[in-house]
């Protein structure tokens, strides 16, 4: 398990990064924390010609808690973001989600944007981003664009990012007043990817339930109500609609069971 050969470029600015992406496109991969990428290189699932290391780019290492958004730059590690979230004491969904994210040893290196760009359908951060209605800022040599999270994730490991684009930052909306947020996850072991993860946001504007680990991408559904038969019916539909798949760890039926039962439990808790 050793990587195939590649050239290595350590970039000093975001501008250099997008320039390099313009030059190499799909022949390059961005190396931020490398916690998924290097595993894929070791297994030779990825054999890029060029690796662009962005971990030392100062202008990508910013994280900002604003009034509207928590904005996290491409080189910000999960450990740094976790600390900011914990210290701010006002970003409840992420605060609940972070401890489920791998292990502290991988959070030390892994980046927030890397996890978003990787788009694993079982990963926690994409689920939070979708549930909160966040956005992804993409930058290429020619343009910048902002893509809503709901548009960004397209399938397993597949996103709206073009090969010449860098996920420059992501924006997690700050909590709405009076809204309540909750995160639950069932995984086989602590720190594993979720068999099913649920993120809930309940406010007077409605009920949003995010589901990870079931569909081919993080999914968010607006539910009609917070209790009763209508909630049950909506969850039942949701459970089936996501086309859960079976694998050696859990059956599709199990995943549907969790969507229904933990979904109801989470929404009930958040609305009581």
């Amino acid at each position: 398990m050793k990587p195939a050969a590649f050239d290595y470029i350590r970039a000093d600015s975001a501008e250099e990064v997008v320039q390099l992406l313009a030059e190499y496109g799909d022949d390059a991969r961005i190396l931020a924390g490398g916690q998924s990428l290097i595993a894929a290189l070791n297994m030779r699932l990825a054999q890029p010609r060029v690796l662009i290391d962005i971990s030392c780019v100062a202008d990508l290492s910013r994280i900002r808690v604003g009034n509207k958004n928590l904005t996290v730059g491409a080189a910000v590690t999960q450990a740094v973001a976790e600390k900011v979230v914990q210290d701010s004491n006002n970003i409840p969904l992420l605060a609940q989600a972070f401890p489920h994210l791998g292990h502290f040893q991988t959070r030390n290196r892994g980046t927030v944007c890397g996890s978003i760009a990787h788009a694993d359908p079982s990963a926690e951060l994409p689920l939070c981003l979708v549930t909160l209605g966040g956005a992804v800022n993409l930058r290429s040599w020619r343009r910048r664009r902002r893509v809503a999270a709901s548009e960004f994730f397209r399938g397993v490991l597949t996103t709206a990012r073009e090969t010449n684009e860098l996920v420059e930052s992501v924006e997690f909306p700050m909590p709405k007043k009076q809204a309540r947020y909750g995160f639950v996850e069932v995984s086989m072991r602590h720190g594993d990817f979720a068999l099913v993860a649920l993120a809930g946001a309940v406010s007077d504007q409605g009920v949003r339930l995010g589901v990870g680990g079931v569909a081919d991408r993080p999914w968010v559904e607006t539910l009609p109500t917070t209790s009763g038969d209508d909630l049950d019916a909506a969850l039942e539909d949701l459970a089936w609609k996501l086309d859960a798949r079976s694998d050696q760890h859990a059956s599709a039926r199990y995943r549907r069971h969790l969507v229904r039962n933990l979904g109801r439990k989470l929404i009930t808790e958040l609305s009581s």
Binding site: S36, M188, R189, W240, D247, Y254, L262
Partner: protein, 996 residues
């Protein structure tokens, strides 16, 4: 440093939990594991090419591109192996050939097909991808019950069947007992494939010497009977295969036994490379292809009276040994043969043992070896007896246990169980674990509708295997022809150097169990020294050290056999010293005392000799030794338990030298919402005879318990129906972490064994045998009688539990079902509307250039024959990219309406096959194209990322057909415009309709 600080002690060292001698090196990163030792300059590195198919004929291997790669020395393939080696000898007489790498056929995913040797591992892995192998896949057999069907594909054609051994045994009068019994209780269970997956993988450094000999450094851990198997395969005398093992091993649990075929392959690779060759197995290789426990399906029936007393057992065991019967298999069946009646006094027994081969990794030693399989059936049965007869399970135990006064006890199948007090151990477990409180908790929880259960397990833990037990697989006639096999020879050498320091040297090949510490305790007691004064040499060199056929780190033979033999050797040396001292102290040698670094006469302690002084003397002045004392201060003791005789006429066999006991209690709760199991308390009471070092013994219990909990709840080598392997990473083969493992309550009884020199028995495997079934029994108890007992299958994952207890569900009618795969394939489908006429789409799909532009990632496409193309494709999905060769054919099934687009691809990551049907339907403004695809994958890609690739395939197909839409639509609109122009100038076909 924290050396055991030890002033004068009143008691013996044996029995104390002293700190480990091993730890300082290991804690400071200065351990000496196999991969840490230097290699000779010029050592090359190997990588293995492995089969992506579970079952395939190897038609050709082309290594030319790999050899041309810079830094590559050579490739060893089947042809070399055929000319230099022989197949491994097998435990049963069957015409099957198992070579160290596949020669004509690959029979499991991950089977080595070639060994490539290069300057370093990175280059070796670069070049391995350049070897081209042409395979012809054959249907694979995964399920052992399917494998025995008459029409099943056969793995080894010469055998003619997948059943390679079928033996029946009858002891006492089981049929009569079953007929007469008021109750018959029956259970059928499946024990899965799993492994203890040590964190250190296999390491081999092999060299071919100038005299045709081989020199190997590896982390092989025995049994050293396999040295003969390896030497025979290499066609050299045993002495010409020198095996060395380093001091430190990174965990084995039996698993390191499975390195032996690689040792042979690397010896041959070194011979071909004419240089030393090193190989460090990677984790992917380890999970897919190293070894596995034996999967088993057992049907077990008991004859029981109304009190729960069992009078007979009838076993039908079907073992899945994987693709080859690799030594020491089918030992999983026979190691436990004497113990099939467990801890019970059951006089009548019948057994049918069948061994079946399937397209999976060959099975081998895994901690517990045979025990987990037997007790999973037997102890589930005991639980069922209690349920069906409405008895307290503890009563069933008590009524059937071998009585404390009945030892040594001969079981129906011949085991001579040496000692124990099972009733008292059960009692002890109940007290230490506060069983009464657990029962109260269960009642209270149940009253609230919670799922709380208590399970038990009683197991007899055999240790020190009889080398002859495996011959029970042969008929007595065959045994007579082959000559007897038996015993468990162990050797140990104790010597004293010229300044009086004691060295103990053994062939126990430790992998973390603290052999150095324990042996220094044993020897310190004999010589009246401190453990720190004793040097223990556990490095092994088969050319220089004393070792025997039974040696190695397996069958829990350390405490009973190895420590016992060290004790014997040390005593002999001490007695010799006593004679020398007696001459100096002018007393009888029987009166000599060794204590506190001194040697003196019991009657005159003041007149003491210092130990080093006494012990160095004979080196310098052998001429003045007392009469009858031979020169030299070195004693090698060789011991074998006399109780270990070959199987008798009636197939009775004392399978092991000594037998410990464990009684476990597990209380757990199942969360209804998630199906997760929370262990409330786990109690494990052991009787392993004399404990040499209780902390080391507890370490074995905790470690065994943790592995067994993994086996019970999460670990499994998962195969798909086509034989592809789905647990290729540590993200899919789930080893429990600190969060999942609770601390067990441990209790000890010590009933010394009368058969081992120190009274010690093995303790390392008990929990591997007791814990999986104890947890399963607790789960069965929690789920209640409504759940089918046979559905309790390991690992009991949350998903399996929910499948048993969740209410039935039904898809709402307004939600359409997704395409259904059939287990071997996954399915995907879709439809696109294309603004082009049907004919145009047909044309595009039959035009190679157009086709090339349609296929995502297609770099090169050439026509192989009519409607058949060969393409080079490189696809990217997220950070992943895959390159492969594809063989694509287009078949018209109904012109202008239905066609088949069939593709087969293979690359470094494995192989894929896609078979799709395309249906075209004319629409007013174009064509609707519906596609339905079935895709199957095999090889590495399944092990590490099947889900990702499957879902990517859906994306890629969608891309392909929407491109088709663009290309054909564009053509169509181009053509339409052209036609429009033609019409303008009056040449257009009348009646041709314009679309768009």
């Amino acid at each position: 440093m924290n050396d055991p600080s030890t002033p004068v002690r009143p008691t013996a060292w044996v029995g104390q939990s002293i700190e480990r001698r091993e730890d300082v090196a290991l804690l400071t990163g200065t351990g000496r594991y196999a991969d840490d030792l230097g290699t000779r300059p010029g050592t090359l590195h190997a990588a293995f090419l492995r089969s992506p198919h579970a079952h395939a004929r190897i038609k050709s291997i082309d290594v030319s591109r790999a050899l041309a790669h810079e830094g590559v020395r050579c490739v060893l393939a089947g042809a070399d192996v055929r000319s230099w080696a022989r197949p491994f000898v097998v435990g049963v007489k069957q015409p099957m050939e198992h070579w160290c790498i596949a020669v004509d056929k690959a029979r499991y995913v991950g089977e080595p097909v070639a060994v490539l040797v290069a300057q370093d591992r990175y280059i070796a892995e670069d070049a391995i991808d350049l070897i081209h192998v042409e395979y012809e896949p054959i249907d694979a057999i995964v399920d052992s019950e399917t494998a025995i069907a008459p029409d099943a594909p056969v793995l080894h054609e010469a055998v003619g069947s997948n059943v390679v051994s079928n033996r029946q045994f009858v002891y006492g009068e089981p049929d009569a007992a079953l007929d007469a019994a008021p109750h018959r209780v029956k259970i059928k269970i499946r024990y899965p494939r799993n492994s203890c997956t040590p964190i250190e993988t296999y390491v081999v450094v092999a060299e071919h010497g100038s005299e045709g000999d081989y020199d190997v450094l590896s982390n092989f851990m025995g049994p050293f009977s396999l040295q003969a198997v390896m030497a025979l395969a290499l066609q050299v005398p045993a002495a010409k295969l020198r095996l060395r093992t380093p001091r430190d091993g990174g965990g084995s649990f039996g698993v390191k036994q499975g390195v032996f075929p690689y040792i042979v392959a690397l010896c041959l690779a070194a011979r071909k490379a004419q240089a030393p060759v090193k190989w460090v197995e990677d984790r992917l290789e380890h999970l897919v292809a190293s070894t596995s426990s034996t999967g088993r399906i057992s049907e077990l029936e008991a004859a029981v009276d109304s009190n729960g007393r069992i009078s007979a057992l009838a076993y039908d065991q079907l073992d899945d040994c994987g693709a080859y019967l690799r030594a020491p298999e089918p030992a999983t069946l026979y190691r436990m043969h004497g113990c099939l009646t467990g801890a019970y006094d059951i006089p009548n027994l019948k057994v049918r043992n069948r061994v079946v081969l399937t397209n999976k990794t060959p099975a081998g030693l895994v901690r517990g070896f045979g025990g987990p399989q037997v007790y999973f059936a037997l102890e589930r049965l005991v639980q069922r007896i209690a349920v069906e007869l409405q008895l307290d399970p503890l009563e069933v135990y008590k009524r059937n246990f071998i009585g404390a006064g009945d030892f040594p006890f001969r079981t129906a199948a011949g085991a001579l169980i040496d000692s124990g007090d099972y009733h008292a151990t059960l009692q002890l477990a109940g007290q230490r674990g506060d069983l009464a409180e657990l029962v109260e908790k269960r009642d209270a929880a149940r009253a609230e509708g919670r799922l709380y259960g208590i399970g038990y397990a009683a197991i007899v833990e055999p240790s020190i295997s009889n080398m002859g037990y495996i011959t029970t697989v042969m008929t007595k006639e065959a045994r007579a022809k082959a000559g007897p096999k038996n015993g468990a020879i162990t050797s140990a050498t104790v010597s004293i150097d010229l300044l009086g320091a004691v060295t103990v040297s053994v062939a126990s090949v430790p992998h973390g169990q603290g052999h150095i510490t324990a042996l220094s305790q044993v020897a310190a007691d004999v010589f009246g020294l401190n453990p720190i004064d004793i040097i223990v040499d556990v490095e092994l060199d088969t050319r220089k050290d004393a070792w025997s056929v039974a040696e190695g780190n397996y069958s829990s033979r350390f405490a009973g056999a190895v420590a016992g033999t060290v004790h014997l050797a040390a005593c002999r040396l001490r007695d010799k010293l006593a004679r020398i001292a007696a001459a100096q102290l002018r007393c009888d040698h029987a009166d000599i005392v060794f204590a506190d670094h001194k040697v003196f006469a019991r009657t005159a302690p003041a007149e003491a000799l210092s130990f080093p002084r006494l012990a160095s003397g004979p080196h310098w002045a052998p001429g003045v030794l007392p009469d009858g004392v031979s020169p030299g201060l070195q004693e090698t003791a060789i011991w074998t338990p006399e109780q270990l005789v070959p199987p008798d006429e009636n197939d009775r066999i004392n399978t092991s030298g000594t037998y410990g006991f464990a009684f476990d209690i597990c209380a757990l709760e199942i969360e209804r919402d998630s199906g997760k199991v929370r262990i409330d308390r786990y109690v494990t009471a052991h009787d392993a005879g004399t404990l040499l070092n209780p902390a080391l013994a507890d370490g074995q219990i905790r470690g065994g318990f943790a592995q067994a909990l993994g086996a019970a709840l999460m670990e499994e080598f998962a195969y798909r129906p086509d034989g592809s392997f789905a647990s290729g990473t540590f993200a899919d083969y789930l080893v429990p972490t600190a969060v999942e493992i609770p601390e067990p309550v441990i209790a000890h009884m010590q009933t010394p064994s009368p058969f081992t020199p120190l009274g010690a028995k093995g303790i390392g495997e008990g929990n591997s045998m007791s814990t999986p079934v104890c947890i399963a029994n607790a789960i069965a108890d929690a789920l209640g009688p409504a759940v089918d007992p046979q559905a309790i299958e390991l690992p009991m994952t949350p998903s399996r539990i929910i499948e048993l207890i969740a209410p039935a569900e039904q898809r709402p009618q307004h939600i359409a079902p997704p395409p259904q795969g059939d287990g071997k394939h996954f399915a995907t489908s879709g439809s696109v509307n294309i603004a082009a006429p049907v004919e145009e789409i047909f044309r595009v799909l039959h035009d190679p250039e157009q086709l090339a532009s349609l296929i995502p990632g297609c770099r090169k496409l050439h026509v192989a024959s009519d409607n058949r193309y060969i393409a080079d494709i490189a696809l990217s999905v997220g950070l992943v990219n895959v390159s492969f060769h594809a063989d694509i054919s287009v078949v018209d099934e109904e012109p202008m309406r239905r066609m088949r687009l069939f593709g087969k691809g293979s690359g470094a990551l494995g192989a894929a096959e896609g078979d799709g049907r395309i249906t075209l339907t004319e629409l007013p403004d174009g064509t609707r194209l519906d596609y339905e695809y079935k895709v199957s994958l095999s090889g590495k890609i399944v092990a590490v990322g099947a889900r990702m690739i499957e879902s990517a395939t859906g994306v890629v197909l969608k891309q392909l057909f929407s491109r088709l839409g663009r290309v054909a639509g564009h053509k169509a609109s181009g053509a339409a415009r052209w036609q429009g122009l033609l019409r303008l100038i009056g040449l257009g076909k009348p009646g041709s309709q314009e679309r768009r």
